[in-house]
Amino acid sequence: MSKVKVLLVDDELDFLEVLGVRVRSWGYDVLVASSGKEAIEALKNNPDIVILDYLMPEMDGVQTLREIRKISNKIQVVMFTAHADGSAMADTEKLGVYAFIPKLSFYQDAQATLKSVIDTIAKKLNKE
């Protein structure tokens, strides 16, 4: 059984680094991309899950998600953002987002949610 690959997409390089450490500690392979464009490039490495930041310059989370969906409908996408609102959720739900996780101030909650979401997706993928 191969390791599940998680692609982290965020324009904050420092955030990518710290989240990468965390997700690796959960036992997953981590790929990183610092923009929507890089994320599309990184799809060549066949990630199973994409953790996508909603607010990014040039290509934001929703635009990146649209591009991802043009290439694959199989990849599970989780939106991760500091600025969540109802309309953002509605937009992304149409594009088949698995979960929408706000970057909460009390980070432990958001982190636990993210872990359980990734674990659930990984279990599903392994069953398939």
Binding site: D14, F15, H83
Partner: protein, 329 residues
Amino acid sequence: MKYRDRNLDMGLKLVLQDLNENPYQRFNIAFSLMSIIPYLVFFYVLTNKLFYISIFIGYARLVLFISILISFCGFCISYAIIKNILKRIIFYAALAKHSDQRKSTFIATVSHELKNPILIMKTQILNIQDGLFGLLNEEQKKALELCQNIIDRISRLINDLLDLHKIESGVFEVERKLCNLVEILERQIKESEIMFNKKSIKLTKEIGAADLSVWASQNKMILIISNLLSNAIKYTPEEGEVAIKIYPFDEFVRLEFFNTGEVIPPDKIEKIFNKFERLNLTKEGTGLGLAITKDIVEMHKGKIWAESRSGEGNRFIVILPRDLRRVKG
């Protein structure tokens, strides 16, 4: 009131300020000039019917011509005035909308730029605390815990400042609906159960009716109740008491949050709703919670105040109109 209406209102207000004279006076002049036409028609019909002759013969024809000319000029002038005023309203409404958008962008940018670095710090400290970079001794763990607490404090301050900015700049969720305050209160109490148990606080509730709905923004009602509830818990000593009452009060709903503990001195009772005013500096908090609560209550045309009795405790009272659409002023 919806966003669009607010923009139009603001546009109209700015137009009135911009025009040195009263625009309604101009409208009146323009419309009186225009109204000559129906009077002429009325007289024409009346004289024809009563006297079987028209008054508009001979010299009177010239009078008729001049009158029609005046009416036509009146019509043109009023058209120009109305067009001008409408143009200004549209311009200012667009300006108000643009200003709202700029404020929203500011909030989004500040959220992103401030929250992200904090999130990164917090995550990395958590990584270290969880031993992802090697095992820690007790002292190192304590030091990192202190850092986490400080980060949480900054986080709360940023959230409170952003909330306050949203309220004061008018970029605020204004979608209102009927919200049952009893339901919100029960939910908030349930969510705070851990905190009540942790300090062994005795909680008593007095609920005057099962449905006490107000026409308001649901999220902001949650904020009012959670702020006052957490305030009560925060300032109640261990094994102290918190009493919450909610009941109908004429056309209002009255909420009371009483807690035992350190009493607010009379000279401070008015000031506690000021920004950054804190009763006890040793307690956690930004000093913005009550200021935000007061802003929200006033935004919903309600009132909030505090009462304290030495030897007993403090009581925070909120009254909110059941339907603020009916409240004048």
